[in-house]
Symmetry: C2
Subunit: 342 residues, 2 copies
């Protein structure tokens, strides 16, 4: 392990860029919960959020406006303020000698930026040149379940449909879902402001920009990021991403075809033993994962593993994971933990 | 057209079995809305619901307890009180000379019972021997979109994930979703009574009984009924059915593989011209069907038709349809209309 790639062997100066968002708040909680070696924590945000106060680990912190000088002496930046903010400050962060773990999609597909799910491709992290990208939430959850299966059979094709919570669009979208639900229950027709349509008792195809091929950005993120993380650049992959009126956990219905049949019992064993995965697969009681099972929890829960009756080489399964936690903040912290000296 | 198979050429005596349910109420509304030739309308239900009063088309009707004699003189029975009630009264209904359009799953796969979506296989209806089955909601919506495509290319395989509303579990499940949503918004943890888990800001794999192959009954209904309606007994088909916190419209993410590539433009033309289908497919505005677009409306809305980037012979599309209306009551009335003398 090269010294420059690892974080220094002492309590660290950590900056959170975008501390006031849903993911930023979860990062604060996880740094404390996981006893990350923090000497000093700097909360950075745009001028609009600067001055906001925040208590963390018994300290009273004030959000500062982000600037080049704010990164002086920082060892680690956890960035979660969107792609344009990450692009704007990348150079300053790297020039300050800090490692940036970036939750945005800005650099994920760059050749010189590792895209890491610690349980899947931890070896990629240490090859960073200052920036490590945190994958898209749906991709993180999916690769945790695909990786153990791929150790036994080559993946041929993946067809996935998602059921994505409001949290994927941020804290304001979660609030809007609650407000709109109140309004619908009161017989009113809500007016969307954060999301393009109301999610209250409704759902819609993911609203990220459509590409020429009629896949939205979110879907192409799943396709491209899964290929990069798993080292399978030609994996046949299609995804339909859907926003549903759930607060903070994503679900996915997954159909995966292998080069040869993989017995269900074997797949279950692999999943049960996989890090970051909890198998909840009890056909006798028809009890399988639900968003309420995983909200606020670390593992991705996987269940209803079965042979696809339409294709003997394919299996189907269902998974749920907390979007803010493993789908974003937890994975980012785990990436940083990979860089801590042993 | 055989005379016995058609309904008589005069105003009809119509009975609704299960008039107080969500589908029963929609049947009442549709009979009036569509000017179905009703001379007399009899509302029948179990002893528990007997005596309930109901206004219809300016008349004040009282629900009667179902009995053999209640079918005397009846021309048409629209049954929507569950499989066991349909099984119990089938003989009496047929013996009384009435035609039974049955919304339950009791007889759908029987060889001597046509299973009909009027836009897809109207010719099957007239071959009835007293009973015509109304398909499962998700199947009706799906076959409306598959049928026009199947006129151009042979279907090879269908992979579908559903997003099914509370209405599929009845009026009480819809009420429970509302009550539980209120409770969650008030910070409480709801206790499920109608459905096995709370749907409020949550979702779960369809709770119909699991088969040995780990597909639930609802999923196998889609597989088997689609094959029967489309006359494709060997169609390769897999479905994952999921209940979501939406009130009365179902959505489906569909991946369909053909024997040869079908250009998207051709598929769009076929869908735009298909009876019962409304194409809502505007990539420029990213506007595609949502449950709120179809609630209380007749057509199945289809959109985001695209070539599957993982399989050149496959297309993907998205659809939404009102579960109570086209998914149940409207389709039943349309079946009865097929039997009206020209």
């Amino acid at each position: 392990m090269s010294t420059a790639a690892s974080l220094p062997n002492r309590p660290l100066t950590v900056a959170i860029l975008g501390a006031s968002g849903a993911v930023g708040q979860e990062l604060l909680q996880l740094l404390q919960e996981r006893h990350f070696p923090v000497k000093e924590l700097r909360l950075l945000a745009s001028a609009r959020s600067a001055g906001t106060r925040c208590s963390w680990n018994g300290q009273d912190l004030t959000v500062q406006e982000v600037s080049e000088s704010a990164f002086a002496g920082v060892d680690l930046v956890l960035a979660s303020a969107g792609g344009s903010v990450s692009r704007q400050w990348r150079e300053a962060i790297v020039a300050a000698g800090a490692v940036m773990v970036d939750n945005s999609s800005a650099f994920r597909m760059d050749d010189d930026v590792p895209l890491v799910v610690p349980e899947v491709n931890p070896e990629a992290a240490i090859q960073h040149r200052g920036v490590i990208a945190n994958p898209n939430c749906t991709t993180i959850l999916l690769t945790l379940a695909l990786a153990p299966l791929a150790t036994r059979r080559a993946l041929r094709r993946v067809v996935v449909s998602t059921y994505q919570s409001a949290s994927g669009a941020g804290a304001q979208a979660m609030e809007e879902l609650k407000t709109h639900s109140h309004e619908v229950l009161a017989g009113m027709t809500p007016t969307p402001a954060v999301l393009p349509h109301s999610l209250a008792f409704n759902l819609f195809l993911h609203n990220s920009p459509l590409q020429a091929n009629r896949y939205c950005e979110e879907e192409m993120k799943m396709v491209n990021e899964t290929r990069k993380i798993m080292g399978l650049p030609d994996l046949r992959f299609t995804a339909t991403c859907v926003r549903v009126p759930v607060l903070r956990a994503h679900s996915e219905a997954v159909n995966v075809e292998f080069d040869a049949p993989l017995p269900v019992a074997e797949a279950r064993e692999l999943l049960a033993a996989a890090p970051g995965v909890q198998l909840m697969d009890d056909p006798a009681s028809s009890r399988f994962p639900m968003p309420t099972d995983v909200a606020g929890r670390d593992p991705v829960m996987v269940g209803r593993v079965r042979e696809d009756i339409s294709e003997p080489k394919a299996l189907e399964f269902w998974l749920c994971g907390d979007q803010i936690r493993k789908g974003a903040a937890l994975n980012a912290i785990q990436i940083a933990e990979l860089l801590l000296p042993a």
